[in-house]
Symmetry: C2
Subunit: 208 residues, 2 copies
Amino acid sequence: MRVSELSRSSGVPVATIKYYLREGLLPRGETTSPNQARYDDAHLRRLRLIRALVEVGGLPIATVREVLSAVDDPDVGLHAMLGRTVYAITGDVGASGSLDEAQADLERAVSHVGWEVTPDAPALAGARSVLARMHELGHGPGEGTLHAWAEAADRAAEGDLAAIGRTDDREDAAETALVGTVLGDALLAALRRIAQESRSAQLYRTDS
Amino acid sequence: MRVSELSRSSGVPVATIKYYLREGLLPRGETTSPNQARYDDAHLRRLRLIRALVEVGGLPIATVREVLSAVDDPDVGLHAMLGRTVYAITGDVGASGSLDEAQADLERAVSHVGWEVTPDAPALAGARSVLARMHELGHGPGEGTLHAWAEAADRAAEGDLAAIGRTDDREDAAETALVGTVLGDALLAALRRIAQESRSAQLYRTDS
């Protein structure tokens, strides 16, 4: 299909598609004349993936390029690729507040569930920063809450790995991990609010 | 303290503090002269809360005002206040893809855990939109993954309600819910990545 059809099918404007091509997020089409290229369903799929990562996940373009290059690199093994993908999409909110209390919380959470994680994993720094902010606000989690959150994260990750394990195709597994992690964050946040409403209604029903 | 000290203690520039005052996010200080006002620790706490909601949660200023007004309204019962807070911070990524498959997934998740939720809860629409995007990308969750995510969300919410239940003070409970939900999303995302790395290492250790 031509770029105009690719735009219609994906809902992404032609100018945005050309920007993604220049930035190397989308592979070039097959050149059919000096001014025209032909695109196929793989381009359409990739374009929808980019759009979801940007619109739902709020990822910057540079991050999208980084994770897609990890997905596209056939020399990277699955665990390493998942690591590169997950590392790239893990932000840090910046340290503020008490890092000592936050570090103690984090160690409690990790040992409660028995996670094995490399000490320089960006997610450790990310979690520590958020916990420090919570303590700064006077709302550090109590032990029961911390344990519940760690168990929740572990159960979610069990579901993530089950999804990745359903396919034998490396690129498909990579995409599953990427979509599951980025869109999964948004889904889990929404499901958590549904669960909060349900549990809050059971506890505080009389007051409304 | 004066506005300059409030700025130093909070790390928030004076111009930003004045903007929050104009927008009604931060209550006015006690006027001590035509050009000066005095602020106290309650202002400092509120300022740190606003900053965390904006910087960590990425909430727009209008949403911060909306949730703070729910927190500050003593006539609203706790469950209703939690509802207003959680509803205000629940975004919708916009429908795209198959809403039928997404609706079926959502109903399966809700009935799997046994949630009771009002049909017009924004989080239901939010979850449905994300699920529709996943299906559009060819990565709708399988049953095992969906059940794991629903259980994870429910366990997280159990931790949230435990945190809220630790205080008898209504405003403190409201703040706990707000901080736990908004900063908790970021924390749970980070903990999930730690859990993914740990579980991925166990499954795919040989390939790196």
